[in-house]
Amino acid sequence: MESASLPSPLPPVSARRRRADRLARSLLWTATGVAIVPLVLIVFYILSKGLGALSLEFFTTDPTGNFFGDQGGVKSAILGTIEIVGFAALVAVPLGVAVALYLTEYGGNGRLARSVRFFVDVMTGVPSIVFGLFIYLTLVLGGFGGSSFAGWKGSAALALLMLPIVTRSAEVVLQLVPNSLREAALALGAPRWKVTARVVLPSAASGIVTGSLLAIARAAGETAPLLFTATIVKATTFDLNEPMNSLPAQIFQDLKQPNDELVQRAWGAAVTLVAMILIVTLIAKLIQRRSRVQGAP
């Protein structure tokens, strides 16, 4: 194909090579198709099974815990997820951005900065359930804060999970802020902290928001660290110092029940959770796209 367009034609490509080329191309097409199949199937399946479960009661009642009769909805799980993830973000985002600022603005390539960078990478790889174990051992077992299992302890586990994601993504966008901006501000006589807070941070803001939202989306789907920190309960609570329900945990509990209605509730909860995560992800991508169009970092 390529050779045909050249002014002085090369010797024709042999049939064997042409066959190999066509085979490889069709394999790549097929593989891409294969990769999309699961997503299509999952979306189709959770919509067809889950939409039927949705109703006003589904969103406005707590699980009753009854095996027979009225099982209730997932109100406590939806609110619990929002509370736990929200509080985790409240802790993890400022901390993560602070670490990233340290790395780009002050740390340079010093020994502390290098080891912080390394250990943030280590944190990215730690399985979420191990964070859950750690929080269980330190906060739940000790009865820290006068409670055993509690929503905020779930948040703590999720915050550990989010922190490295926030830091890494914030570091990347902070590095993209042109040095001339910093130098210009410094030359005008601004002190270093003012340059960081008023010049560097605002110009990287949209990228930082995107990274944080993606971290939130990731944490919202996590089940393992919540199982023995916030646990699975029935009632709605707004007290972060009490055990708290969450959507992933509720799905996990319902799906293996030998009761079709409970399984149905799990599918409904799955639709709700995926929709929540998708909304957050889409907002993140939109912000990303808009800042790219403007040409800002």
């Binding site: 051992l137 490295p164 590095q175 960081t196 990274g211 996590e222 599918w267 992800t281």
Partner: protein, 307 residues
């Protein structure tokens, strides 16, 4: 501000050190009873008798992760090649988003789907495969179990696909255009150009990305817990029920809270898991970093962070 930010960063280091020390201390009873070596390599996990040898779990973790790589990486790299080289421009953006969306599906939803869709639908095919190809190692005749190593590996393959393909895509896009054009100018077909000038250049980055996927697969908990079968015995075939380190922690932790040795055993399992992922991830970072330096593109390692 400088002092504050430095203090926060140093606190992260202290926290991680405390994290490691705390896990080690809490796991100590089980290591004292069975020895570190005995705990990791004894093939006997019997909670009712209080015997904790984690080999079936370690092997389960490694087998499912290996299956995930075996299935997931070829597909992921093909997708990356397709998106960078073959895909019509109009399709590229939306296809990329679709593949990335796989990362947005929560692990518990994958588990739910696999439990109600993959397991029943694939069982006849698995049975046929086991009967027809029983001579392949780790495939044996006999009834295939519903939940098994293979299903867990398959679901993990789907879960690591977005991260491996995102990193491969980044690395492939760093291949210098002159190198590709040179191959084409010499009369190479598109495939020969990919095989001879792109893949060798991007190899290390792709391997690194796959290792990051491996780390993800090893640590993945809930989806695997749902489809692995919860059987702490070494299976003979990939279609047997098994168990993994992460799944055993998720399942047994509540009952273990009152039994100190059992709890220590699960924390020990967590520690083994942590060390495994640490090893795999360190190797992966190093490889991605090296291939980055070769291509002088600074953002490759960050490509997978949001996924």
């Amino acid at each position: 501000m400088r002092v504050g930010l430095t203090a926060v960063s140093a606190a992260i280091l202290v926290l991680l050190a405390y994290f490691f020390v705390k896990l080690t201390i809490e796991a100590k009873p089980v290591f004292e009873r069975f020895g570190v070596f005995g705990f990791v390599f004894d093939n006997n996990w019997d909670v009712s008798k209080g015997i904790y040898g984690a080999l079936p779990l370690v092997v389960g973790t490694l087998v499912t992760a290996a299956l995930a790589l075996l299935i997931g990486v070829p597909v992921a790299v093909s997708v990356a090649l397709f998106l960078t080289e073959l895909c019509p421009r109009r399709l590229r953006g939306s296809l990329t988003v679709v593949v990335d969306l796989l990362a947005a599906v929560p692990s518990v939803v994958y588990g739910l789907w696999a439990f109600f869709f993959l397991i029943p639908k694939l069982k006849p095919a698995e049975q046929w495969f086991a009967d027809a190809f029983h001579f392949i190692p780790f495939v044996a005749t006999g009834n295939v179990a519903g939940p098994n190593y293979f299903i867990a590996g398959l679901i993990l393959a789907i879960m690591i696909l977005p991260i491996v393909s995102a990193i491969s895509r980044e690395v492939l896009s760093t291949v210098p255009p002159d190198q590709k054009e040179a191959a084409l100018a010499l009369g190479a077909t598109r495939w020969e150009m990919i095989r001879m000038s792109m893949l060798p250049y991007a190899r290390r980055g792709i391997v690194g990305g796959s290792m990051l996927g491996l780390g993800r697969a090893i640590g993945e908990t809930i989806a695997v817990t749902i489809v692995i079968g919860d059987n702490p015995i070494l299976g003979h075939s990939i279609f047997d029920q098994g168990y993994t380190l992460a799944a055993v922690i998720a399942n047994e932790f509540n009952e273990a809270a009152s039994d100190p040795i059992h709890r220590a055993a699960l924390i020990g399992a967590g520690l083994v898991l942590f060390v495994l992922t640490l090893l795999v991830n360190s190797i992966a970072r190093l490889m991605v970093l090296r291939s980055e330096r070769q291509g002088a593109q600074p953002t490759v390692a960050a490509a997978g962070e949001g996924l």
